[in-house]
């Protein structure tokens, strides 16, 4: 449980960080809160030659509203996400999900950027971001671009981020007031990654579902945006029949692997249970 040797860098600006990333290629690795990277280094599953610490970059911290959008700096901690009154008011699913990540100690160090950039299917925020249709702001030597969360994840630990790019912020459209939301996570204990989890945002209008967005955590190589499952709810009263169809659609895309949390069959089954519970809770919260 001892990491290999590495060079430590602490850039003072985003440009400097990007320059270091470009210089060191696949030998370079940024470290944010370190709560995913350090465990992997201790197991020597990751052996970066150059560690580029982002803790000095204050410009990457903070939560701002810009019109109908919220921008959250990559270095904002999970604790800050959970504590933000602004987020609790305009996008409360973020608090609900953040409080289901690990434990307070981890959340005080772990960052939102690290959680979404990491690419581990067990991370909770990626599915939430897909559910909210957020985009990730990436900056590299060639400039800045935005990649939708729904297109960002390619395989476990593989994302659309290029090696020399830094994730600087997460940008998300504020869901309409009165939307219903829920993040349901089944886990074995505090600090555990999900056996299965589902993020749901529902917009109801006159008792009918106007839009529904569902995404799943830890039941595939990547977070899964369950587009079809959401679609089955649109135009319905979100009644039992519609929910059952959404559950089946979500289970249909789940491809969990068997692990100590349970065999595939169980994890697929509880994916359905989490979707059902999240939809039911979101519906109860939505203003018709």
């Amino acid at each position: 449980m001892i990491p290999g040797a590495f060079e430590y860098h602490r850039p003072a600006s985003v440009d400097e960080a990007i320059a270091l990333l470009s210089r060191h290629g696949d030998e370079g690795r940024v470290i944010a809160g370190g709560h995913s990277l350090v465990p992997m280094m201790k197991l020597r599953l990751a052996e970066p030659g150059h560690l580029i610490d982002l803790q000095g970059l204050d410009s990457l911290r903070g939560i701002q509203q810009a019109g109908r959008c919220i921008e959250i700096g990559a270095m904002t901690t999970q604790q800050e996400v959970a504590a933000s009154e602004l987020l609790a008011e305009v996008c409360p699913i973020l608090r609900e999900a953040a409080l289901l990540i690990a434990d307070p100690q981890v959340r005080y160090c772990g960052t939102l950027g690290g959680n979404v950039a990491n690419g581990d299917p067990g991370n909770d925020m990626p599915a939430v971001m897909q559910c909210l249709d957020a985009s990730f702001v990436l900056r590299g030597p060639k400039g800045e671009r935005e990649v939708p969360a729904r297109n960002f994840y390619e395989a476990a630990y593989f994302t659309a981020r290029a090696e020399d790019e830094l994730l600087t912020a997460v940008s998300l459209p504020i869901p309409p007031a009165g939307h219903g939301y829920a993040y349901e996570k089944l886990k074995r204990k505090v600090g555990d990654y999900a056996t299965a989890a589902a993020a749901v945002v529902l917009i109801m209008n006159g008792g009918t579902c106007e839009s529904a967005s569902i995404a799943l955590t830890n039941v595939g190589q990547t977070p899964l945006f369950a587009e079809a499952a959401g679609q089955t709810l649109v135009g319905t009263k979100v009644d039992e029949a519609a929910v059952a169809m959404a559950v089946e659609a979500a289970k249909g895309i789940a491809e969990p692997v068997a692990d100590m949390r349970g065999p595939e069959e169980y994890r697929t089954h509880v994916t359905g249970v989490m979707v059902r519970r999240a939809v039911e809770r979101a519906l109860a919260r939505a203003q018709a």
């Binding site: 001892i2 290999g4 040797a5 204990k189 990654y193 349970g262 169980y266 089954h269 509880v270 249970v273």
Partner: protein, 801 residues
């Protein structure tokens, strides 16, 4: 002499902080300030570090080991392999069970993560780099992870080194992968009882492989003084004196040149009883390099290589009449001991005290048979917070009695009440020959049933069942057997399992006591001081209790199996009584009366009929160093080696209520009521702490802990990502209660308690979970009751969707 203080009798008693008071723990002053001193806190001048190259394979031939690149890593000082240890004859070591275990893999590896080479370097970083640079060439071999398959006729032979031996220390072998067969009871009589029984039940009950998982893993610092030829070995040892003797025997060093020191220990639970390759390699390392060598294992090392617990494949059977009165019990166990037979039991007991399997019940006949088997898994088989194999035995009988209740259609409390040994039967000799010292099982269970409104719970359950909801009520009415033990039937390496206490009273009336046991968090510094306070009339605050240094403490067999209070606690009382006898002589001299004219009162001797003529223990202490009667030697010291006449038999009645979510399989413990009877209660707060801890570990075992293996022998779940250590969030709320039935043979009537809650707790949880499904015809469900397993049961019953 006149009384200097004006204190009342009650005030004087309270000042002592003796037996029965819930005083705060003396050791916590340093622990809560972070001032404990654990093995990894030890830093000796010139100290270096060592760690292992471990095998990725569970079964493979080691074709070659190339250490050249590792030796070239900056900071690496030495790399040891079996070849290097061979000239010292230390490449294998004897186990406590009469087998041998490879210190470093000799030609073959037998389990994943087995120790293959030991790299020593200036610091942990150099050592880690060195470990990565060692090149080992393996040829993989067929792997056996199932003990049943290990006994198949054409199974590959695991232990080629003992292939030709018909005995590896614990009895006759019937197969190259078989370790021992052990039997107890009367087979014919038992068969007869079964043949004539109105009702019989049978169940396959597997108690999964778990790990004690102390928060602090195992480790040591070995330091050889080449000038004096003295070895000091600091380590996480539950039994420091045994370690000294073992080191002397295997390293060939004279025992007086070895000093073993167990500093503060962060939990043991049986994991720190045995000897591990790390201790041997660090010792060889310091002898070779002349510098202190530290080895401290990591979490994954701890969970995957140092001693596991349980792994018992049991088949239980009960025969009874139609009223649920049990006539006989029959048990067969296939015991998976892993690659080396290194379990820690008294030498004569290859299945520990498993024959306590008749539990709290008056069962006329029994037959049990245990077969030990080698597999490609880590060695061990220690008692994880229970006396030797007692939790397995207790789990079996507590599960089976529920199975019987279900079969005869009786309530599970009723069937227990009908079968309990009755208070008049004590001392009670079980059909498997254990003499239970004292007990009152009916009172204990009835008290619990009343406290929780058992009838109300049953009514609620019946209502819930009508609505399709799953609610379970679990009972466990266990008897433990602790305090190993009488030397006529207990020894380790031929040394009787006595324990010891040495007391010195200082002239000003304070004292130091040293004992042969070793606290790992149980609070010995407090509870032993309380026993001595009451016995000697000296405040417990004025008594230092010391353990763990073999140069100063009297020889003892250490702490495990809840033996500290039953054995060393008794030694403490007996040593104190020797001191008191001498004190009486001095007091008589001081007060110018005959010894017989004196009587004891709390903290002093009084002259009968002249209450103002007294000598306090404090005054006597001073006199012991200057004012002695003719012919009496100065000083006030005593030592006692206590060989207990019998074990003690603590017991309890636990009740657990659970609700099951049939869609996710999650089990929620709604209520847990634990009544313990450990005889005389020394410190109620410490007892409550022990019960809370034991119940929490029982909860962990029943609900989540398991070490499993895939078919190629890869260990699964051996890190905190998976291995279930409940936090305060998952842990249920515990309600505790007690009755007091003193042990008649223990000097202060005390029994052990640290392990009772684990023994009884596991059964109570498991019985509650199964009970949630009992009305659907389910009689047993495999542990641990993780959500997915429970859901599988729901699914099988068609209620999981």
């Amino acid at each position: 002499m006149t009384d200097a203080t004006e204190m009342t009798l009650e005030e004087r008693e309270a000042t002592l902080g003796g037996i029965g008071c819930a005083r705060k723990r003396k050791e916590d002053i340093r622990f809560i300030q972070g001032k404990g001193n654990y093995v990894d806190d030890i830093e000796l001048p010139g100290q270096v570090f060592g760690d292992f190259v471990r095998s990725p394979y569970a079964h493979a031939r080691v074709k070659s080991i190339d250490t050249a690149a590792a030796k070239a890593v900056p900071g690496v000082l030495a790399v040891l392999t079996a070849e290097d240890l061979k000239p010292l004859n230390l490449h294998w070591m004897p186990t406590l069970a009469g087998d041998t275990q490879a210190v470093l893999a000799d030609q073959k590896v037998h389990f994943q993560n087995q120790e293959v080479a030991f790299v020593i370097g200036e610091d942990r970083y150099a050592v880690s780099d060195g470990i990565q640079a060692v090149e080992v060439d393996y040829e993989d071999l067929p792997v056996l992870v199932d003990p049943k398959q290990a006994l198949a006729e054409d199974a590959p032979v695991l232990r080629e080194d003992v292939e030709d031996k018909d005995n590896v220390g614990q009895g006759v072998r019937k197969h190259p992968n078989h370790i021992f067969a052990w039997e107890a009871g009367d087979r014919d009589e038992t068969d007869k009882a079964f043949a004539g029984a109105a009702v019989t039940v049978k169940e396959e009950i597997f108690y999964q492989r778990v790990h004690p998982c102390p928060l602090e893993p195992c480790g040591c610092v070995a330091s050889m003084d080449p000038v004096r030829g003295e070895l000091t070995l600091y380590g996480t040892f539950q039994a420091p004196h045994v370690v000294r003797t073992v080191v002397s025997l295997i390293a060939g060093l004279p025992e007086h040149k070895i000093r073993v020191i167990a500093p503060d220990i962060g939990g043991g639970f049986g994991n720190k009883v045995g000897a591990y390759p790390g201790y041997v390699c660090a010792t060889v390392g310091t002898i070779v390099l002349g510098r202190p060598v530290k080895w401290v294992e990591g979490r994954i090392d701890n969970l995957s290589t140092t001693a596991f617990a349980r792994d018992y494949h049991m088949t239980g059977e009960l025969a009874a009449d139609s009223n649920g009165r049990i006539a006989a019990i029959r048990v067969h166990v296939l015991a998976d001991h892993g690659a080396f037979n290194a379990h820690a039991q008294p030498s004569k007991w290859p299945a520990g005290l498993f024959s306590i399997v008749t539990g709290s019940y008056d069962i006329p006949s029994a037959h049990i048979a245990v077969d030990g088997v080698y597999t490609n898994k880590a060695p061990g088989g220690v008692a994880y917070r229970c006396s030797f194999r007692v939790t397995e035995a207790s789990y079996l009988i507590e599960r089976m009695i529920d199975v019987l209740a279900q079969k005869v259609g009786l309530d599970k409390a009723e069937v227990r009440l009908r079968n309990f040994v009755t208070p008049e039967q004590f001392p009670y000799t079980s059909c498997l020959d254990w003499e239970y010292d004292s007990g009152d099982y009916h009172t204990a269970l009835n008290k619990v049933l009343e406290a929780v409104d058992y009838q109300g719970l049953l009514a609620e359950q019946a209502e819930k069942r009508k609505r399709g909801e799953l609610m379970g009520i679990g009972l466990a009415t266990f008897t433990e057997i602790v305090g190993a033990g009488p030397s006529r039937n207990c020894d380790i390496l031929g040394i009787g399992m006595f324990d010891s206490c040495e007391i010195r009273i200082h002239p000003t009336g304070s004292a130091i006591a040293r004992l042969g046991t070793k606290s790992q968090g149980q609070g010995h510094e407090t509870t032993y001081a309380q026993i001595l306070a009451t016995e000697l009339g000296i405040p417990s605050d004025d008594i230092t209790v010391e353990e763990g240094d073999t140069d100063t403490a009297p020889y003892g067999l250490g702490t495990y199996g809840s033996r500290s209070t039953p054995v060393a606690g008794a030694a403490a009382a007996q040593a104190a009584r020797k001191i008191k006898a001498k004190a009486q002589k001095i007091a008589a001299h001081m007060l110018e009366v005959g010894e017989k004219d004196l009587e004891w009162e709390v903290d002093r001797f009084k002259v009968k009929g002249l209450p103002e003529k007294t000598a306090t223990m404090k005054e006597i202490a001073f006199a012991a160093y200057q004012n002695l009667p003719e012919g009496l030697e100065p000083g006030l010291e005593a030592v006692n080696y206590y060989d207990p006449p019998n074990f003690t038999y603590p017991f309890g009645a636990y009740l657990c209520v659970v609700d099951v979510d049939r869609l996710t399989g999650e089990v929620k413990v709604r209520r847990f009521y634990a009544l313990d009877d450990c005889g005389t209660r020394i410190n109620p707060m410490v007892i409550e702490g022990q019960v809370h801890g034991g119940l929490t570990e029982a909860f962990a075992i029943a609900m989540g802990q398991e070490l499993t293996f895939d078919e190629t022998g890869n260990i699964q779940g051996a890190s905190f990502m998976d291995y279930f250590l409940p936090t305060a969030v998952e842990t249920p709320v515990w309600e505790t209660d007690f009755t007091v039935t003193p042990s008649p043979h223990h000097p202060i009537g005390a029994k052990g308690v640290g392990e009772s809650p684990n023994v009884g707790g596991v059964s109570a949880f498991s019985n509650a979970v199964v009970d949630a499904f009992a009305h659907l015809g389910v009689s047993h469900m495999p542990m641990p009751h993780t959500p997915w397993r429970v859901w599988k049961q729901c699914q099988a019953l068609g209620i999981g969707e």
